[in-house]
Symmetry: C2
Subunit: 126 residues, 2 copies
């Protein structure tokens, strides 16, 4: 979690805000509209309650998500993307565009690296 202004690179601050494992998925779930905690829990297969709470709190602290508590029992809490959170979506789309455009090259590079690692492992065995 980086401070935007006190760090030389606002890019790293932005990436730090969204790079924890579930944050992009949470943001995308919320871009369809308001959701409650257990709705998010159910839609994010594999996440635990502790991690969902933690990452929602951090997204709220970063100003990307808002949290509205209704004074009811049992508790009703609604999570939404903030206005600022919504402005991040086109930027994430640029990341996706880039990844799709270059997926061939990226996969080729990955395969090459994997092959070289296998080669090295076999050499160490011999």
């Amino acid at each position: 979690m980086f401070n935007i202004e006190s760090f030389e690179c606002p890019i790293m601050a932005t990436i730090a805000m969204i790079s924890d494992k579930w944050k992009i998925l949470i943001i995308y779930r919320l871009c369809n509209g308001t959701m409650r905690f257990n709705e998010l829990m159910r839609s994010l297969q594999g996440i635990t309650q502790r991690v969902l709470t933690q990452q929602l709190r951090e997204l709220e602290a970063d100003g990307l998500v808002s949290r509205k508590i209704y004074p009811e029992v049992p508790p009703r809490v609604e999570y939404s993307l903030t206005k600022v959170g919504r402005t991040l979506l086109p930027v994430l789309e640029k990341l996706e565009e880039w990844a799709r455009k270059h997926s061939g090259e990226l996969i080729a590079a990955r395969n090459k690296a994997t092959a070289q690692l296998e080669k090295l492992k076999n050499r160490v065995k011999a």
Copy 2:
């Protein structure tokens, strides 16, 4: 380190490629041109040799950085951004643009969260 195609979200794969602590800084050092290992070491204050090696190898495996070994003694290895690595720069600029444009709101949200945390801490003390 995510696999682009096997994961539902290429955005997360891209972020995974660049979110380790030093990777953005390495990319930006290399966008000015080829550098050698110790040049990078010296220009990245605080990094250790083990971490620089590791993160360079990962950037190479991801196809963003190329590594050229000259058969010399002492060893001469040159690191450069690949063509694909260079295409990432405008995307990173979009992230920076977004962060600068919304820095006021992001800082306000952070301050609000910090204030609420202090309030909670004081309440627990009482």
